[in-house]
């Protein structure tokens, strides 16, 4: 198959599928009709990427494979079009989802311990119905609580390929050296996850609103 022909076929298949397709799957579909190989498919995808450069659509790789999507630049237009259909997620839902994403596998108890409130059944149902989380086993403790983890669909939805592409969890601060004297102005906290030598000095007047995200 000529390069251009293959490129057009890959494009049409991705557009018609409405869901991400892996190279393996593309290969299986195309090769059932004409002989091809995965390298050619990958270069076809590369060429599509170049074609879309000046357009408002793009081809991206997410956890389940490649998909063609409208660029975020025109998201504003589309949001007007879909005004009422844009789903909104509560803070509680996003917090619960974050804990599952970063700490998986977790039980409801783990989530409750971090958030300090009981886990909402409706939130867990929404997350399961959206197919973002699933039960991957049961912890071997009394009660055999279910352990939750995220799914490839979760990554797809957030435009990610792998879990490690999630923004880094803010650095862990341990109140190890919490000063017992109330009038001491600064507290040193040991960085347990880092080199250990790094001492973080946190001042009372430091603006804590802005979270520090490690890159």
């Amino acid at each position: 198959m000529y390069d251009d022909k293959l490129k057009n076929v890959v494009e049409a298949i991705l557009l018609a599928s409405y869901e991400p397709l892996s190279v393996d799957k593309l290969f299986r579909i195309i090769t059932s009709k004409v002989k091809t190989n995965k390298t050619d498919i990958l270069s076809a995808i590369d060429n599509l990427e170049k074609d879309y450069k000046d357009k408002d659509i793009e081809i991206v790789k997410v956890a389940s494979g490649y998909r063609i999507q409208a660029k975020s630049e025109i998201g504003d237009y589309l949001n007007i079009m879909f005004a009422d259909r844009t789903p909104r997620y509560s803070r509680a839902l996003l917090e619960t989802l974050s804990i599952i994403a970063y700490r998986q596998p977790v039980t409801r108890g783990d989530i409750e311990a971090i958030r300090g409130v009981s886990v909402s059944t409706s939130i867990m149902r929404t997350l399961t119905e959206r197919n973002w989380i699933r039960i991957i086993g049961y912890r071997n403790v009394p009660g055999k609580p279910a352990m939750f983890a995220t799914t490839p669909e979760f990554l797809d939805y957030f435009n990610l390929q792998r879990l490690d592409e999630l923004p880094d969890l803010p650095e862990k601060k341990e109140p190890m050296d919490l000063d017992l004297e109330l009038d001491d102005q600064s507290v040193e906290s040991q960085d347990l996850e880092g080199n250990g030598s790094e001492l973080v000095s946190v001042d009372s007047n430091q603006d804590m609103e802005a979270p520090t995200i490690q890159d």
Partner: protein
């Protein structure tokens, strides 16, 4: 309703940079140049209005973090007494508004009170490794804050249905070619055999009912009784008939009796049983 009790922490650090005005509660309103920070007790606030504010908190840790951050306090050096007072004020506010107060909030109030009381006790120098009573709470606050921040970051990620949208083309109009499979003669034979086998299962033994009808036999019996006064009971049975035929005759006799068309008479014990047709109404008189 108590005004939330905001005090600045006695802290050198803050004292040094105290050129900024003391943080006070945002005035609800300014009346005649005077700012009102306390709600008039007779002012009716629809409970839903404050509920909206209080509902924004995702639990006690969230509320505590809010209280700490609002005053730019160091989370690692929380002035427990002040924070406890403020926290309890909020709890009371919730109670006053008759909001459904989750148990977690009360648990946190108890925890704060416990920490506060521990902090008031003098520290024993001898006891080593005595942890600051606040440590556990601070650890939980920090841990919660990490994930709260993470969730905010997660929310910023480009996501489907909000930032990016799946594009696609319609393909339903395309005729789906129906591929006709090729069939080997062998397979054809095998399936025909199966058909035959299945057909065999449908062959059945036809059990024909003997055309024996009680109604019909009743007519026959009446026919026999016609023009005769009596007939011997046994004469009604045709012994050449099968058992079923005999039973049908017997049933017919019983049925005729029930319908008062015949009468059965026995003149003496163990004597011959006679069957006699009962006459129709116009002939009855002569009979009885």
């Amino acid at each position: 309703m108590d005004e939330p009790n905001i005090k600045l922490i006695k802290n050198k650090d803050i004292d040094n940079q105290i050129n900024q005005p003391q943080q006070v509660e945002m005035p609800f309103a300014v009346v005649d140049g005077e700012s009102i920070t306390e709600l008039p007790s007779d002012l009716y606030i629809p409970p839903v209005a404050l509920k909206v504010f209080l509902d924004t908190f995702e639990g006690p840790l969230d509320l505590l973090l809010y209280l700490i951050r609002k005053q730019n306090l160091n989370i690692l050096d929380v002035p427990i007494a002040d924070i406890t007072d403020q926290y309890v004020n909020y709890i009371n506010l919730m109670k006053e508004l008759e909001l459904e107060l989750a148990g977690e909030y009360l648990l946190m109030a108890a925890m704060l009170a416990e920490i506060k009381s521990k902090m008031l006790l003098p520290l024993f120098e001898e006891v080593e490794d005595e942890e600051d009573p606040r440590a556990e709470l601070v650890r939980r606050l920090l841990e919660y804050e990490r994930y709260r921040t993470a969730s905010e970051e997660l929310n910023k990620l480009q996501r489907l249905e909000r930032d990016v949208f799946i594009t696609g083309v319609e393909s339903n109009h395309l005729a789906q070619p129906i591929e006709l499979p090729e069939i080997a003669l062998q397979e054809l034979l095998v399936s025909f055999q199966e058909v035959l086998k299945r057909a065999e299962m449908f062959t059945s033994l036809h059990l024909l009912k003997e055309p024996l009808s009680v109604r019909e036999r009743m007519a026959t019996i009446l026919e026999k009784l016609k023009n005769k006064d009596f007939i011997d009971f046994t004469e009604l049975f045709d012994l050449e008939e099968q058992k079923t035929g005999l039973v049908v005759t017997f049933l017919a006799i019983l049925e005729l009796m029930k319908e008062s068309l015949i009468e059965i008479v026995q003149t003496k014990a163990f004597g011959v049983i006679h069957v006699k047709a009962l006459l129709s109404d116009n002939e009855k008189n002569t009979e009885h």
